[in-house]
């Protein structure tokens, strides 16, 4: 396997200096590198990753892709991303197992129903495909969901985005890495950024890594859960809190589920991977953490909800659980922004839901880093929104679910 991966991209020795250094070799850092080269002709670019390529949240997420967010700003960026997904296998020349199998978001109480209907209407006005299904229609679309009114949190309906689905996350990372590498980008693994190079006037001039100093014209942070740690080395405070987010898989089962089902209210979301395992995600643990593991009671609660909604799952056995560290913003929306530090740009705060944004975030972040100012899609997600009060509250559509 190591050999196969080595053939996908060149593993580079870091040079002394680059136009752009991207910190973090997850999905976002790699797609940013690719679009810097492809869209802006910037190839003097290095991605530095402290561990192995895409071993962070990119390897740990439940791969749900959708664009049915409430507000115009979010619909625009997530839909841009979904459109990129729809052409991505051709673009990268990689089989990403991208499957638009439809995503159901269940509604369990009157408040849910109202906000779901509102979201369907908002989505349609924004050109995002969205449908409302009655409980009977939910059952027709996904026969194993229990729509009995006797449930503690009965299914009162669901929104459906047919263009939503899943993809194989590690292949997405390898695809971006391979094509970025082909275009001349250096990908450097096992190089942790431990500090920053500042000029005599305090100017940001590069990064200090465990594999030596690297000078950079611009530094682009794409470090997900560790963004605050890096920013604090520069004295920059951000509206981010890092939390554990857990997921799990069952043993391999015969096909029982051919769509994605999510329920914010009872905190469970599930799909069945091609191999046959059920892939399920939980809610975040309440406390701040960098430990990449969470508490078992969170998993227990999630399983209780899953078994009530899908009685057939009672037969499934848990195979393994794991955790990632997600960077949560107060309005459940990302930050794509220049910063008070010249030449420092950040893409973070994607929290529990940034996998679906991998192509779109890389696209707009590359544009910001290349031009030094945000384009239309990124502008609303600047740091300034916390000062001017223009928050993009996506708790309804993002919440804990993806």
């Amino acid at each position: 396997m190591a050999d196969a991966r080595a053939r996908y991209w060149r593993s580079a020795e870091p040079r002394r200096s680059y136009d752009v250094v991207i910190v973090g070799g997850g999905g976002h850092g790699l797609s940013t590198a690719y679009y810097l080269a492809r869209n802006h002709g910037l190839t003097d670019v290095c991605v530095v990753e402290k561990g192995w390529l895409a071993g962070g949240n990119m390897a740990r997420n439940t791969t749900i892709i959708r664009s049915n967010y409430l507000w115009d700003e979010s619909a625009a960026i997530y839909e841009h991303s979904l459109k990129l997904w729809e052409g991505l296998e051709d673009e990268l020349g990689f089989d990403l197992q991208f499957s638009q199998r439809g995503v159901l978001n269940l509604a369990h109480h009157l408040g849910d129903v109202r906000s779901s209907l509102r979201r369907v209407n908002a989505n349609r006005l924004n050109g995002v495909d969205a449908e409302w299904l009655t409980p009977e229609e939910v059952r027709a679309f996904c026969p194993i969901v229990n729509v009995s009114p006797d449930l503690r949190y009965p299914v009162l309906g669901a929104t459906l985005q047919r263009r939503g689905g899943i993809a194989r996350h590690d292949k997405v990372a390898w695809g971006y890495a391979a094509r970025a590498s082909d275009l001349g980008v250096d990908i450097v693994e096992h190089a942790e950024v431990v500090g920053f190079l500042r000029g005599p006037d305090g100017r940001l001039e590069g990064v200090r890594t465990t594999r030596g100093d690297i000078r950079a014209g611009r530094v682009a942070l794409s470090a997900a859960g560790h963004t605050s740690v890096l920013a604090s080395m520069l004295g920059l405070r951000l509206p981010l809190q890092s939390h554990p987010l857990q997921a799990l898989v069952s043993v391999l089962l015969e096909p029982v589920l051919d769509c994605v089902v999510m329920s914010n209210a009872v905190h469970v979301y599930v799909s069945q991977a091609e191999k046959g395992e059920l892939v399920m995600g939980a809610g975040i643990d309440a406390y701040n953490s960098y430990a990449q593991r969470g508490s078992f009671h969170v998993i227990e609660r999630q399983m209780a909800a899953a078994v009530e909604l899908f009685p057939i799952f009672a037969h499934a056995k848990l195979l393994r659980t794991w955790g990632g560290i997600v960077d949560v913003c107060p309005d459940a929306s990302p930050i794509i922004s220049a910063t008070p530090i010249e030449n420092l740009f950040i893409n973070c705060g994607w929290g529990t839901g940034g996998f679906k944004a991998t192509p779109g975030a890389g696209w707009v972040f590359a544009d910001l880093v290349a031009n030094g100012r945000p384009g239309e899609l990124a502008r609303p997600f600047s740091l300034e929104r916390f000062t001017i009060g223009a928050l993009i509250d996506e708790h309804g559509a993002a919440a804990v679910a993806h």
């Binding site: 740690v229 509206p239 406390y287 916390f386």
Partner: protein, 90 residues
């Protein structure tokens, strides 16, 4: 699951508590005097250290009192819990 020592009730399971984030963020004494940047700082900016963190918890399903803790965000070990207004043991 964490075992958290409520300063009044003793050690209890984490599920009895709710989390309150960073400790020691007090309401501005003169709110009218704050600039937009200072409001943003008060409302939204938070420390997010990898290491020891001073944070608030409330014993929601117990005595319902708030208290502070010093906990490692790497190991989850809780070094001390203590009433608000007091200092943790060194």
């Amino acid at each position: 699951m964490l075992l958290i020592r409520c300063p009044w009730c003793g050690p209890r399971d984490e599920v009895e508590f709710r989390y309150g984030g960073q400790a020691g963020i007090s309401y501005p004494s003169d709110p009218d005097a704050l600039s937009d940047e200072e409001w943003a700082d008060y409302l939204f900016m938070r420390d997010n250290p990898k290491g020891e963190f001073r944070e608030r918890w409330v014993h929601a399903h117990g005595c319902r009192r708030w208290f502070n803790a010093v906990r490692s965000t790497v190991t989850h070990e809780i070094r001390a819990t203590f009433p608000i207004g007091e200092e943790p043991p060194a």
